[in-house]
Symmetry: C2
Subunit: 200 residues, 2 copies
């Protein structure tokens, strides 16, 4: 019965493996579209406007903030990044699901503006495994590793603000969990109520 798509917001600490999950989920489910961010940073070699990002200037970005055209935004160093509402809503209206991989601050901003979203938190299999994964990225100093680890612990405490939590001890299982969540959320009475009272 579901016609409109769902916005699925995925967060989790660094090292939980959410990047891999999102990449495979998108590959395996063509009806799920990745959200595209707007940014004021300059395009890098090979990046295409409207595919990798919507590249806009600072005035245009500030205007989007004022007109409430962003589901969330943040300033990182000198650049703004944000999620344009229109791209998400157009896809949902067309019946596509939209996937947004985003940090916890961004997810919580979205939750305030778009509570109908489905909020999923990816957890590492264990704290030991989390530490190993952070270490195995290899490029960081011990100080960086400890910083990342303790910030991951803080992030895990935010899980209570999410609808679903998935322990990523098996990537394929985690993807199946997300697919089940999307199917189940489509069956929620509150998402279908208007259709139901029209139909019966």
């Amino acid at each position: 019965m579901r016609k409109k798509g769902l916005l699925i917001v995925i967060s989790g600490p660094s090292g939980a493996g959410k990047g891999t999950i999102c990449k495979l989920l998108l590959e395996e489910n063509p009806h799920i579209k990745a959200s595209i961010s707007a940014t004021t940073r300059k395009p890098r070699q090979g990046e295409v406007d409207g595919i990798n990002y919507f590249f806009i200037d600072t005035d245009a970005f500030k205007n989007m903030i004022q007109e409430d055209e962003l589901l969330e935004y943040a300033k990182v160093y000198d650049n703004f990044y944000g999620t344009p509402k229109k791209y998400v809503l157009d896809n949902l209206e067309a019946g596509n699901d939209v996937l947004l991989e985003i940090d916890i601050d961004g997810a919580l901003q979205i939750k305030e503006k778009f509570n109908e979203g489905v909020f999923v938190f990816i957890l590492p299999p264990s704290l030991e495994e989390l530490k190993n994964r952070i270490i195995n990225r290899g490029t960081e100093t011990m100080e960086d590793i400890n910083k990342r680890y303790s910030s991951a612990l803080k992030e895990i405490n935010q899980v209570i603000k999410y609808d679903y939590a998935i322990v990523n001890d098996n990537v394929e299982g985690a993807i199946q969990d997300i697919e089940a969540i999307l199917r189940a959320e489509g069956c929620r009475v509150i998402r279908q109520y208007e259709d139901i009272i029209t139909r019966y």
Copy 2:
């Protein structure tokens, strides 16, 4: 991560096809157990105590009511029928899901006592199809058919009290919906929160 099972309560108007769905769901998922009702009616030929029903006398039944040992109960003609809490909770504790196919009054009683249950409403594909299915049962008078039909309409209005609604235009699809619902519900943060804070 889920260890405890889920209680899944399935209702819907007569003619929605919930009986077929429940039968196949149980056949395809050995970890889902059908709830067993207690009743004061006498066993029929071939019925086995503890398999088809728990057959008990009226004093024992009334005692179960008083001791709050039933998730719901009703009196139909001269006999009591009810859902013993213990059988359900023991199975959930053992990690089995428990399936309970029950009318709306029963489901709403359960919702009051056991809000953690997952409440699913099965809808017929359309009102025309519902009427056809009621007629095709063949054994009833026109008056019975109209009565059943108008009571089905009233029942459909109760869908808002359920968590999920599934349109049964395809039995295998409906079963997959329920399987997705069980998998997704197992990922809900509120069902895992204690595990999560213990583990991280």
